[in-house]
């Protein structure tokens, strides 16, 4: 795993999905406590570039490095 996700923080704005260069981020099908469908990452396709961390307004991502 290259990027850790804090599911509770996600507000489903979709900026990470839009900006991900590998298009490996998608919405999951389980609601979080706030009532949003948090994002999930396809670990096979992820390159750990950190673009999702850069554009996320809510601190969902932690790039492990």
């Amino acid at each position: 795993m290259k990027v850790e996700i804090n599911r509770a923080r996600c507000k489903e704005c979709g900026l990470c999905i839009h900006n991900c260069p590998k298009k490996c981020i998608s919405k999951s099908t389980e609601l979080n406590d706030a009532g949003y469908y948090p994002v999930q990452i396809d670990d096979e396709a992820c390159i750990g570039c950190g673009i999702c961390y850069t554009v996320c307004p809510d601190g969902v991502f932690h790039v492990l490095g």
Binding site: C13, Y36, G48, V55, P57, G59, V63
Partner: protein
Amino acid sequence: MAATRERKVPALVDKPMDFCPGCGHGIVSRLIMEALEELDQLDNIIFPIGVGCSSNLGAGLECDRLHCCHGRAGAVATGMKRVSPDTLVVSYQGDGDAYNIGIAETFNAAYRNENITVIVINNTNFGMTGGQMSLTTMEGQKTSTSIYGRDCSVTGYPIRFPEIVAREFPGAAYAARGTVTNPANINKLKGYIKNALQAQLNHEGYSIVEVLSPCPINWGLTPVKAMERIEKELIPYYPIGEFKKRGEEQK
């Protein structure tokens, strides 16, 4: 695979915040903290926070801050800085707070060349109260108080404050405008914020960074479309870049 480096939200803002989905405030507050972290000043900071959506920052911060009366963060920051000149004072305001309500305080702080840093989040309306027209609302933009679109012949034209600072106040240290529309602009904006903080650290004088930020809820757009609106409509009127660089003489 290229080596990646660890990136984690700085602990001072690592809390859930109440901003709307897709709001730019979350990105900017994180950038300020990253810049402070890089300058090794995380324990030497106080935020005078304006009223409006910017007030939500207070709920997510783990450091000193003061919620000012509406628009008066410029005056409060002046007091803070004069009492403790070695502490970094960063006022965090929206466009309605800094320009509409508090233009006198913002303007006077710049005029006196107070050694403070002002971060203004410009989303072209009063976001928290329901999207009313502000000084930065674009011509023709529909808001809840300009339902036929803003008529500039009656209400005046959108204000470009960093340009005024750069042009009219010779002593000011730094004036810039950035945006959060894509990763490249976000990284540039972080550089602007870091420059502004560095200017204050070196006692160079007044520094201001305005940020063009989306307001998806009040604009009635999705977060991605709101970012596109900034690129298409706002950036041609509000150019991004540094209007006054550090150490640059007045032309």
